[in-house]
Symmetry: C2
Subunit: 421 residues, 2 copies
């Protein structure tokens, strides 16, 4: 009777930040793909494009004949077609009255900014040098701080859509910042779940998560034990021994709950040990002193990663100058690995989750600085994962396991394929 | 000082089924689009394609040399590359142990079916006749019932991905059914919120929602009053009078809570009346005796619609034969309107939400049969809405209002543009 094998058997994993489940169907990677092929962007871009409305000195696309300055590192301006506006009437959501209403609505004021990452039209984070990335982080911080001064702003969402396939309408390297009166859904849900975790465990969820993945890594390196979820683990099945759980369980040494004795997982099983999914660092892509980049246990997108600060930092502006360098370092390294994975300018949506700008002091404790990378590609530069029918109506679904994805990214070089000769 | 205008000012609306907010930025429809253009599928398909693995009598794509029968209406078979499988080991999620774990996982067994809607390769629901759609509904029902017999199946998700842009790898008209041990995330969340609503109001949320939209419609037709959210309403602003609220408020006459006296919404306002968003049927696309198709108040996708049964039905199999005809009727009409909107074979993901197959009797009361259509197109057959950066990291965002979308769909003909001469 076969054991449960994470590399072959369908399972679902819980995202503790959103409390939503993701279905993982690893055997489905064998499925032939006869569907849509994306365009492969092979065009060599010039370093200056006279028709680009983001290049230095060019005229912007808003009809107001504004001209960009001759900027030399980053350039921040207000979005010409903002999704939220500062100057509009207010419509308040009155929750007492609303309880009975199925038509709940409230106004959202805010401001939208565009941040050009570089004057050079043909650059991306993946081929910028680390000292060139530091000013991008500085622009994120200064925009956040400027918005913090605005009384009506409570949250600042920093993000980048990269690639036409991700709805980016201009290849000039740039990101956006949408600052709003409300705390957007995703952040609100993350904060809620992190608050519940803190209430129960008196610790930060993401501090614990970093510890889970890295303690295990150290442990695995030391004694050769392997995560049953690891694509390189011997046997690759769900059979565990009690010694593993006791010594290297996810929260071993940090939690008062005594580990129960695990049993072998045989088929058909009525009881098993999810808590015995002893991690061995198999989801780690790269790290430095201040940050770790990993494929989260609950990743939805095929090559989704998270960048987490190792220390408990609530926001980008809490970083020391060394941590800022380290963030630039990790950003260059993960984006370079992404480009090398399919030898293309790797598309993604990426963004920063940090403390809201409002004056709720609990957020300092609750928020743990992290970035999410959501890249759509699955098999090659032209075959993406479609999160459609079942995913929209039922549950997110992925094919390769997070551990398999992490291994592929960990195997990629940190020298960009275009510069490697 | 201007009033709040739903057609110009950013606001967010709450989806009561998922309790998530959607940002609506109506002024953003003026934004020029310089990004990705999707391929326009202008190819005329043959009614039989010898290379299609779904056409009658052809060989399937699984390498097992299975041959399709010479079917005449629908054809159901097990997916050759299923996301869930019946025959695999079990890994149980033990919630007592798991409380402390950030690595929660459980196995998911199940079965995946493909349902060919028609033997004709070039048909879609939009150009099938209603009597041809009835067998599709019958196939949904018989598959649901067959799965209900399987002890380990608790939920049956029926859906269709239509169009290459929605990850559909074969244009032959077909849908899928994924039957699983778990109740998928979306359905679980909907059921949870419907249960809370019922606990509070002792009524079904979606029965109330249908009533909200249709009572208002009747009322508006009778006295000419207008929803401030309607694109055709005079003034199109948020100013309300108390008589509107008292007479036609969303749950007027159905709820014991007395309506409070609304005030005019002026700028800057500190108080307004979301519950006074008096509906006037402006979100209704089409209806018949048994079903209504509307753009929900909280729609995320530009032309998202919901089809709801007017009576409280828990599942497709509870329909009378007249209701089944009516569902075929509404499916043909909405898909035809979709095709006519941009004069193309309109892509979407669509699916049925109904009671799970498990034996939880409360689901009979809780579930209210409905279908969701999630179509990606925004401006034309080649420009879609990208739910990316801000949407993934922050909050869903739409440009045109649900009322504007409903008006455009309501203005479309129910005679297919290809057959209209
Ligand atoms: O099963 P298909 O049609 O090959 O695949 C399509 O639908 C599935 C269910 O929504 C998705 O998981 C896939 O990403 C999509 O390409
Ligand atoms: O603002 P952009 O880059 O023109 O637009 C892009 O990013 C936005 C924020 O994620 C999305 O709402 C748009 O759908 C997308 O096309």
């Amino acid at each position: 009777s076969p054991s449960f094998d994470f590399n072959h058997h369908s399972h679902r994993r819980l995202n503790p930040l959103t409390r939503s489940w993701v279905l993982c169907s690893p055997h489905r990677t064998q499925r032939p793909w006869q569907g849509k092929q994306e365009d492969d962007d092979l065009s060599k871009r010039p370093s200056y494009d006279p028709s680009c409305y983001l290049c230095p000195t060019n005229t912007r696309a808003n009809g107001a004949h504004l001209q960009n300055p001759d900027y030399t590192d980053t350039f921040v301006f207000e979005n010409d077609f903002p999704a939220v506006q500062q100057n509009q009437p207010i419509l308040l959501h009155d929750s007492s009255e609303d309880e009975n209403s199925l038509l709940q609505v409230e106004s959202v004021r805010g401001q939208c900014h565009v941040i050009c990452f570089s004057p050079q039209h043909d650059k991306t984070l993946a081929d910028m040098a680390e000292p060139e990335i530091v000013p991008v982080i500085d622009a994120w911080i200064s925009t956040y701080k400027a918005m913090q001064q605005q009384g009506h702003i409570n949250h600042v969402q920093i993000f980048e859509n990269k690639g036409a396939i991700m709805g980016c309408s201009n290849p000039h390297p740039h990101g956006q910042v949408w600052s709003t009166e409300d705390i957007p859904q995703e952040t609100a849900v993350e904060l809620e779940n992190m608050a519940k975790y803190r209430q129960r465990h008196h610790r930060c969820m993401l501090c614990d998560y970093v510890k889970t993945e890295t303690d295990a890594d150290r442990k695995a390196k030391a004694d050769g034990s392997a995560d049953p979820l690891s694509p390189t683990a011997t046997g690759m099945n769900g059979t565990h021994t009690s010694s593993h759980t006791a010594e290297t369980g996810p929260l071993a040494g940090t939690d008062p709950t005594p580990p129960t004795t695990p049993t072998s997982t045989t088929f058909p099983s009525t009881k098993t040990m999810p808590s015995a999914t002893t991690p061995d660092g198999s989801r780690i892509v790269c790290e430095n002193d201040s940050f770790i980049c990993l494929v989260p246990f609950w990743a939805t997108w095929p090559f989704e990663t998270m960048v987490l600060s190792k220390a408990h930092l609530a926001r980008l502006s809490d970083m020391t100058s060394a941590q800022k360098q380290d963030l630039a370092n990790i950003l260059r390294r993960i984006t370079c690995r992404y480009d090398n994975l399919f030898r293309c300018s790797f598309p993604y949506s990426m963004g920063v989750h940090q403390a809201p700008t409002n004056d709720d002091v609990s957020h300092q404790e609750l928020s743990h600085l992290h970035l999410h990378f959501y890249p759509p590609l699955l098999r090659s530069s032209t075959v993406k994962k479609f999160l459609v029918g079942f995913e929209l109506l039922g549950q997110s679904q992925r094919d390769l396991t997070p551990e398999q994805a992490a291994k592929r990214l960990a195997d990629c070089s940190e020298v960009h394929y275009k510069s490697a000769v």
